[in-house]
Amino acid sequence: MKILIDYALGGNSLPGLIRSALESLSLTPSPAVLIFTAALGSLGVFALNSLLQVGLTWTWCLAGQRMVCELTVDLFHRLQRLSLLFHSRHPVGDSLSRLSTDTWCVYTLTSGLLSPGQQVVMLTTTGTVAWQLDRELAALSLGLAPLLALSSILFGKRLKHRARLGREAHSRLLSFVQQTLTAIPIVQAFSREELNKQRFEHLSSDAVALSQRGALLNSTYSLVNGVIITLGSAIVLYVGGLRVLSGGLSLGTLLVFLAYIRSMQSAAEGLLNSYSNLKPVEASIDRVLEILELKDGVQEAAVPKPIQVAPRGMGVHFRLENVTFGYEPGQAVLKKINLEVHPGETLAIVGKTGAGKSTLISLIPRFFDPWEGRLTFNGIDVRKFAVQNLRAQVAIVLQEPFLFPVSVADNISYGRPEATREEIVAAGVAASADEFIRRLPDGYDTVLGQRGVTLSGGQRQRLSIARAFLRNAPVLILDEPTSALDAETEELLLKALEHLTKGRTTLIIAHRLSTVRKADRIAVLEDGTLVECGTRNELLRGAGVFYRLHSLQFLDSRRGVAV
């Protein structure tokens, strides 16, 4: 543009191109017109430039965003499929931190990829030019380059390590906040607010200290690099200066050479800077990949067998053979369990709390795989089936109801999303839940509060029973399905259960003998071993553990009647 001003104001003759362009517009190239042309031209250049900028930024953002999105979705996909063993060891907060923050770091990777390319080009071109200009000085200036590589190797690991520590500190804080917020009733009941505040302060101070130390390390790295680079150019300056003094080099050449060195320096600095930015990202990527590549206990068979769906009303035959399993290495919860459940049978599992009952039934839908022994489903090892396929055969009522913040109907049809409203209502009725559901503000369309808080414990349990009923699977597993229910509701439910267990293989964990009474057979667990198994009468006659358990509760209830 300034050149145009020269022509307009300085009266220089115009380059042919512009003159012909103006003439074609039938304008005489008077100075005033030229000024306007200059102004318009400057606008044009701006427009072109900003168009380019906008396009570039947009493309990068789009690409980066896509990458992050896909990575996050993949991570979530994997996290959902990891066994419950993994999740019992890793706080939800940690997984959340990986999902929300670590994946986002990848975004900085995309934006950081553009400049190093430019810098490499810059470095090689100026390098060659400088080499041709003066070999000795070029060699001197490049002589310290290996030191840069050395410092990068030395610091790279530490930078990554620091970043990882920082990420972990943040993840600990996130876990703490998440845990506190999910346990808020107990926090308030036990007045832990002040202590929690201190803990938050403590954890956040850790995170601050770590981020500061990270910044310090980063600065040290750039100092070391800076010293090396400046030392290099100081040597060139000194040696070159001496040669100029002795007349071996012209001042002009030295100046030109120094200018080249400066642009090489800034390119090198930029490159090293990208490197030091990359290292923390690497730590985050590691945290994501760790999960994605984790070899977990429950693994899909390479060629999963299709499951033979039992004909309706037959149930499934399954069998535990020498099953040993525990959560912590060396601490077996189940020890060499042998148990067979026949098609259509109802088996009650009883035993003291902590005997391993819930763990035993968790093996059936493969929440975990046994350490030793195997589990067969109609004679085939369950590990040969596709996990999804296997779980489709099982309906389960867990001790904790696990409701979702969606409508009541969606909660009931969680295991069978295609169910019609009639089927949902029928399941609600069977689980004695229909009556209270109809009293909710929008009936079956009422959206539940977070974790079903506005429902009572018994109501939540009934919804989870309705969910299992609707699932209509050949295997039904019930883990203390009536613990939170009053006697009346329990009685109703047990009646409904009688219908449901017909033609299904049912496993039921129960403390109340009223539930156990309806089972075909009873298995008694004690300290992770199967001590008795048989019909109720057989066990009572045997006068073993079950007999003792039974008489205890029986006496208790008799006392109740007598008082």
Partner: protein
């Protein structure tokens, strides 16, 4: 939301010293940038061209070795190195202080938000997903750092250089300067047009991010159900939809920012073009020399640079505003259970005389769960609450530690309205065993001592023994120091419940609330715990919700609740004799046992 920036600025106050250091270092950095090329210039001029040293630098020659040209060269080369080192050190210090102060401010705001959240009533928490709250506490609180470090500090430096540029230009050509300044109101207009949508879109982006995190949190905490019902694909779908929406929201924010940047660019480009036109005409008329115009144009660039960066600050303000909005939404929600002004702590241990007078409460407006409950518990009395599930029993006991307050009516403790007692003092008088044991991933000992963090190991063990938990704790790999998995996942239901009972036992409070304390226990364990509970109940006012009537029988008084009303109350015998609600309940359970008895007799 008004004056949010002012409220955020409060968080910078404790760090004013550090922040002024940052400003000083920023200025020093600029000074050093000016100084840096100086030794170089001296080398060329004085060493290589052999001109005499300028008087300001004559002292260099006086240094040892400064008298010869190679010596001077070495000295000046050293000076380059030194200047560089100082420059680095100041930059490092600036960054160190900035990172420290920035994250400290963020966490300070996060702490306030976290603390406020802890004090919000359970009604609030019943509706708000934990994942979203986590996002607000840890992510959105970054707004304070953004505001202070990327808005306030650059604002300061931009304003200074703007003022400097303006004075210089004003002296050169007033007309042109005024013309150049015309850009300022135009920029203001651009900011006005774009600021609102930028803030809105940032907010939207953060909202969806929060939603995504909430979904992830819900899915991962309910994973056993997700896996059992094979809904992983469905949850994947929901998650990927949300995170795609989050991505789109982010791109929308970027788009509005790009639009804004182009807008400011247009304003300055038009400004420059206008100056070229008018200035050019001035030159033609001979009012201005061409050289002056060129200089003016270059100054114009330096004027517009800070002006543009000032405008860009509004992008920072917009996103800080969005974060601040999400933070203050919570900080300003007053669904807390508040002390009335002048609330006092209880002077001594409460005797435990509790009275509910015409209490009405519910979770949603117009749908009360309890309809005018009147109930009295005398010191040391055990009151059992019996009734069908969903009758409002858990809601009733939640009112005692003031998890929320009644809509109508009042509750008194030793004759004082609960609202007139300071909350921590009130809650220290109450121990609770809830339906959900809510264990935390700490050691067993820490979990038991949750309500009395200073408790000695002896006391902890005693509580565990009394709750019949000692035996299974001893069997854990590290005994009392075993860290419990997430939500007690590796303990059985009964073990978790026993830890919750031990926790309540250790608190040793005059009022005890038991919400189905034995529902997950087998008969034998229940019998043992019942003994422990007998000891625990002595001398305490106890509310116990029980489905098993063996628990209820122990109570001096049984209150039968149905659909939020007390339908009958009296002792076990009285109610049985009356033969209505409770008797029917009793018959059902007793009947079952009778059948068992018959079977047993066979």
């Amino acid at each position: 939301m008004k004056f949010w920036w002012l409220r955020l600025t409060r968080y910078a106050r404790p760090h004013w010293l550090k922040l002024s250091v940052v400003v000083l270092l920023m200025v020093a950095g600029v000074g050093l940038d000016v100084l840096k090329p100086l030794p170089m210039k001296l080398i060329i001029d004085s060493v290589l061209e052999n001109k005499p040293l300028p008087s300001a630098a004559a002292w260099v020659a006086g240094l040892p070795g400064g008298d010869s040209r190679p010596g001077l060269l070495a000295l000046l080369t050293g000076a380059t190195l030194l200047l560089f080192l100082i420059g680095w050190a100041s930059r490092a210090a600036q960054r160190y202080v900035e990172v420290g102060a920035g994250s400290r401010m963020t966490y300070d705001l996060g702490l306030d938000l976290f603390d406020h959240l802890q004090r919000l009533s359970l009604r609030f928490h019943g509706k708000q997903p934990a994942g979203d709250l986590v996002h607000r506490v840890l992510q959105n609180t970054g707004c304070v750092r953004d505001l202070i470090l990327t808005v306030y500090l650059p604002l300061l430096t931009s304003l200074v250089s703007l003022a400097a540029m303006l004075t210089v230009m004003w002296q050169m050509d007033r007309g042109l300067s005024l013309l150049a300044l015309l850009a300022a109101p135009l920029l203001g207009l651009t900011i006005r047009v774009f600021a609102q949508p930028m803030a809105k879109r940032s907010y939207e982006e953060m909202r969806i991010q929060g939603e995504t995190l909430a979904l992830a949190e819900q899915t991962l905490t309910a994973l056993p159900a997700v896996q059992a019902y094979g809904r992983e694909d469905f949850e994947d779908q929901r998650f990927s939809n949300l995170s795609r929406r989050a991505g789109k929201a982010y791109l929308r924010t970027v788009a509005s920012q790009l639009g804004f940047q182009v807008g400011t660019g247009v304003v300055t480009a038009v400004g420059t073009a206008a100056i070229i036109c008018v200035g050019g005409l001035h030159v033609l008329e001979g009012k201005l020399s061409m050289g002056s115009l060129l200089v003016f144009l270059s100054y114009l660039a330096s004027l517009y640079a800070p002006l543009e960066s000032l405008a860009y600050l509004s992008m920072g303000i917009a996103s800080a505003a969005a974060g601040a909005k999400r933070v203050f939404e919570i900080l300003e929600s007053d669904d807390t259970v508040r002390n009335t002004p002048g609330a006092k702590p209880l002077p001594t241990r409460a005797t435990g005389h509790l009275r509910l007078e015409k209490v009405v409460v519910g979770y949603e407006h117009g749908r009360p769960v309890l309809h005018g409950i009147d109930l009295e518990a005398c010191p040391g009395e055990t009151v059992a609450l019996v009734g069908p599930t969903g009758a409002g029993k858990s809601t009733l006991v939640s009112l005692i530690p003031r998890f929320f307050d009644p809509w109508e009516g009042r509750i008194t403790l030793d004759g004082k309205d609960l609202r007139d007692i300071q909350l921590p003092s009130l809650r220290s008088q109450i121990a609770i065993v809830q339906q959900d044991p809510f264990l935390l991933p700490m050691t067993v000992a820490e979990n038991i001592a949750y309500g009395r963090p200073g408790a000695s190991r002896d006391d902890i063990v005693k509580a565990a023994v009394a709750a019949n938990a000692e035996e299974f704790i001893q069997r854990l790999p590290q005994g009392y120091d075993t860290v419990i998995g997430e939500r007690g996942a590796t303990l059985s239901g009964g073990e978790r419940q026993r830890l919750a009972i031990a926790r309540a036992l250790l608190k040793d409070a005059p009022i005890l609330v038991l919400d189905e304390p034995t529902s997950a226990l087998d008969a034998k364990t229940e019998a043992v715990i019942a003994d422990a509970l007998d000891r625990l109940l002595l001398g305490r006012t106890t509310f116990v919700i029980a489905h098993r009537l063996s628990m209820a029988r122990k109570a001096q008084r049984i209150v039968f609740i149905d659909r939020g009303c007390v339908v009958e109350e009296g002792s076990h015998q009285e109610l049985l004799r009356r033969g209505t609600h409770y008797a029917r309940f009793h018959e059902l359970q007793g009947g079952a046992s009778l059948k068992a008895k018959e079977a047993f007799a066979q």
